[in-house]
């Protein structure tokens, strides 16, 4: 396999139907993102990149508010989103906001909250309201209850006690009816589908406790359990809210990232002009224009034009594929040279290959069988609780207690076993551990990812874009004479070819050359300091003979005067890939044991073998189709391995969904990111290691917490069965165990060394 010699820009390719304006020239259409307001004004949200200080808030809001027609601008610092409102009767000009923010150094992206995020937001608010009501009720009932407990020990009159019990009932009943909704509804759903979840014993416990308390109050008894019932709801709602807050924060972050990556498309308007629109606004049948250096925003058939497209994000193949009229181009393909006019066949969420979509469906249903730790505990727990309460009722009746006494004891058992600590045990750890991961640049998609990550014993890496950096870079920059390198960078700035960007990136402060002439299919020529300089194919620069040969390398030559040099451009390994892989192999496992590392690539064997050799990976597969990757994963799974899949390409999406747990870099294709359990930022591979370490710690803490909950029950339940639990003891035991479990969860913050 010889070196792949790339022809340099061919934008001058005769393509009569296509006049190729640069994206900046085409008018932009933001109507998709604008929200009309009742008063006649308009509102639009932006995701902002680069916010890191308090001063940013003022700077950004002032810059936006200084624009004509802008009535208000409010930055949400937590979510990194800016909401701009335009006054009624003013024309909303979003592009002015983008430009203004760009001038002060922030990149803004039009943002549209997805439906799911809006639902989550509403749910979180409802939970918070329930929590507030339960908290208010718990505090006030506790005030009354403490008076009764101390009065019972001293000299409270039965009339005062009855008054306090009635007051408690008046507060507790409506509060429980409101704040208990999340549990009641969920329990009802579970019962309707003839199954049991944690909410069934909770609902039963709360209802029985309230019912018995009202009965006792009617009979002027000494004890009532109003405080226990409401406090139970308060603690359980806290756990539920924490769980929610973690997922919501991740979702907001993911929403921003989606906006940051959102592709725009240049669509042909009916009159033949080009308008830049968000890719989401393109529908099947529209014709769009894609020129060199851009990624295809949609799936489409080439109407006219000719180009080489890099499909590494789609198939993992790094060698560009030439396409011409009639060929199919998939969304995410990078056009290397030339320009294409595409007729859209599928846009937005429909742009996956049929094969990948089919495999994804299959994989997703398989994943659904995983049962979370808390749910497994709940499945065991609910029947045990109900049985224990029932047995203590029957036991006491047989032992000769009155029905009234036996029911009171059974209710005490239900209350004391209600899974306060159990419901907090897992969410509290998840919240703290997710915060730790976020500080290390890892965003979690699913809460149970910790449990699955902690079980991993095999790591499967994709090559292109995962082990290697997503953008190509110059491999032999150090060997190039500086003046030739400067010339190459200055010439490269005049080109839109993807390889030219890699060259330009080496000299960020280079000045573009004036008057660069393009020779179609070969390269660029210009005059630098009186000498002729050329950048392009080795033949174009007259040095074809001494070009070295490497499999996955693209060659670009530069000539300045009489001297020449050949730049080798390839997708380099992530800077710490070698170190991370070797550490994973020796000590990456949950207990310091080594992990089995494999390589699954869609690329050619010649490109994969050297990477595997460098990393010391002995098990590798090349040219695997998506189904092939799944087959390898299935084989590993059937051998009893739990596999962590790390991948970024569209072709990896099904294998990410079918692996036990999955990670992907933030540069991954949209579908792929959506199917990964977590996404990591940055150029390094270290987050993979950190994620495994945090997950191992988190799972250890979850188990510890569950153990604490069990020990608590082992002590409290016999007390309850023997009839010794008064409302005072129930209250102490319940809050005590919850506090211990929450404090223990905070330990997930410490002891994780940041591999930044």
């Amino acid at each position: 396999m010889g070196a792949q010699v790339i022809a340099f820009p061919r934008a001058a390719e005769p393509a009569p139907a296509i006049a190729a304006p640069t994206p900046a020239e085409a008018p932009r259409d933001f109507s998709l993102f604008l929200r009309e307001e009742a008063g006649g004004g308009a509102e639009m949200a932006f995701a902002i990149e680069g916010i890191d200080c308090a001063a940013c808030i003022d700077e950004i809001e002032d810059a936006a508010e200084a624009l004509d027609g802008v009535a208000r601008a409010r930055l949400n610092y937590t979510a990194h989103r800016l909401t701009v409102g335009w006054a009624a009767r003013e024309k909303a000009r979003p592009e002015a906001v983008l430009d203004a923010l760009g001038r002060i150094g922030y990149r803004a992206y039009p943002f549209e909250a997805d439906r799911l995020e809006a639902i989550e937001h509403a749910n979180a608010r409802h939970l918070l309201r329930c929590l507030a009501v339960a908290g208010f009720a718990a505090m006030n009932i506790m005030l009354l209850s403490v008076s009764i407990w101390s009065g019972n020990a001293t000299d409270i009159t039965p009339e005062t006690r009855d008054l306090f019990h009635w007051l408690s009932a008046v507060i507790a009943l409506p509060a429980a009816a409101y704040a208990g909704q999340p549990f009641f509804q969920s329990a009802l759903r579970a019962l309707k589908s003839r199954s049991l979840n944690m909410d069934v014993p909770i609902t039963l416990g709360v209802m029985l406790a309230l019912g018995v308390s009202v009965f006792e109050t009617l009979n002027h008894a000494e004890h009532a359990y109003f405080d226990s019932a409401v406090m139970l709801l308060f603690f359980l709602l806290t756990g539920r809210y924490l769980d929610h807050a973690m997922r919501r924060k991740t979702r907001a972050e993911a929403g921003n990232l989606a906006a940051l990556k959102a592709v725009s498309a240049r669509r042909f308007a009916p009159d033949g002009s080009l308008v830049t629109v968000p890719a989401a606004a393109v529908v099947a049948g529209d014709e769009v224009m894609v020129s060199a250096g851009e990624r295809a925003p949609v799936d489409g058939i080439v109407v006219s034009g000719r180009a080489a497209v890099d499909e590494s994000l789609v198939t993992g193949e790094t060698l560009p594929r030439p396409v011409e009229a009639g060929a199919m181009v998939h969304a995410g393909s990078l056009v290397q040279d030339g320009a294409l006019r595409l007729r859209t066949t599928a846009a937005g969420e429909d742009t996956f290959l049929d094969e990948i979509e089919r495999l994804l469906d299959k994989a997703a249903t398989a994943r659904g069988r995983y049962v979370r730790l808390a749910d497994r505990a709940a499945r065991l727990y609910a029947p045990v609780v109900h049985a224990t309460a029932l047995f203590s009722l029957i036991g006491w009746l047989i032992a000769g207690a009155s029905l009234h006494q036996a029911v009171l004891i059974a209710v005490a058992v239900l209350i004391i076993t209600c899974p306060c600590a159990l419901a907090l045990a897992v969410p509290a750890v998840q919240v703290v551990a997710a915060g730790t991961l976020m500080r290390h640049g890892i965003l979690l998609n699913s809460g149970d990812a910790f449990e699955r990550l902690a079980e991993v014993d095999t790591v499967a890496f994709d090559k292109t874009g995962t082990l290697t950096l997503p953008e190509p870079s110059v491999a032999n920059a150090a060997a190039i004479p500086p003046d030739l390198m400067d010339a190459a960078a200055r010439l490269a700035l005049a080109s839109t070819h993807p390889l030219a960007r890699a060259i330009a990136a080496l000299r960020p402060d280079a000045v573009p050359v004036a008057a660069a002439r393009e020779t179609s299919g070969f390269g660029l020529e210009a005059t630098i300091n009186g000498r002729v300089a050329r950048l392009g194919s080795p033949a174009f620069c007259g040095c074809a003979d001494d070009a070295p040969h490497a499999a996955d390398t693209s060659l670009v030559a530069v000539r300045l005067g009489e001297r020449t040099a050949v730049l080798e451009i390839r997708q380099a390994l992530r800077p710490d890939a070698q170190a991370v892989v070797s550490r994973l192999k020796t000590s990456g496992g949950p207990r310091g044991t080594g992990l089995h590392v494999v390589l699954l690539s869609g690329d050619r064997e010649e490109a994969v073998a050297p990477v595997a050799a460098t990393l010391g990976v002995t098990d590798w597969w090349s040219q695997t189709r998506p189904a092939g990757k799944i087959a390898v994963l299935d084989t590993l799974a059937s051998e009893g391995h739990r596999v962590l899949m790390v991948g970024d390409g569209l072709n990896d999406a099904p294998s990410l969904a079918s692996a036990h747990v999955s990670l992907s870099p933030i540069t991954a294709a949209d579908v792929t990111r959506a199917h990964a359990d977590a996404v990591f930022l940055g150029d390094r591979l270290a987050p993979v290691e950190t994620a495994l370490a945090v997950a191992a710690k988190a799972r250890a803490l979850m188990r510890e917490n569950l153990l604490i909950a069990v020990v608590y029950n082992l002590i409290a339940v016999p007390l309850a069965i023997s009839g010794l639990v008064t409302p005072l003891i129930a209250a102490l035991a319940m809050s005590g165990s919850s506090v211990i479990v929450t404090l223990n969860a905070l330990r997930a913050r410490i002891g994780i060394k940041g591999a930044r």
Binding site: A54, Y77, R125, A132, V133, F136, N140, T160
Partner: protein, 57 residues
């Protein structure tokens, strides 16, 4: 024990006031941007510029 007739409603009323205040603050979006609120307090552009007076060394 007639004192209870004043004290219990007073205690409940205060608690209810707190609950209503919380629900109001939730409704008006004060929990949407907790990190931002912590930083906005540092803004000083709502202060009048300092009066020109004799400066201390």
């Amino acid at each position: 024990m007639t004192i209870l007739l004043y004290l219990v409603p007073a205690a409940l009323g205060l608690g209810l006031l707190g609950l209503l205040a919380f629900l109001w603050s939730l409704r008006s979006g004060q929990y949407d941007d907790l990190d931002g609120a912590a930083l906005r307090v540092l803004n000083d552009d709502d202060l009048a510029p300092p009066a020109q007076g004799p400066r201390r060394p």
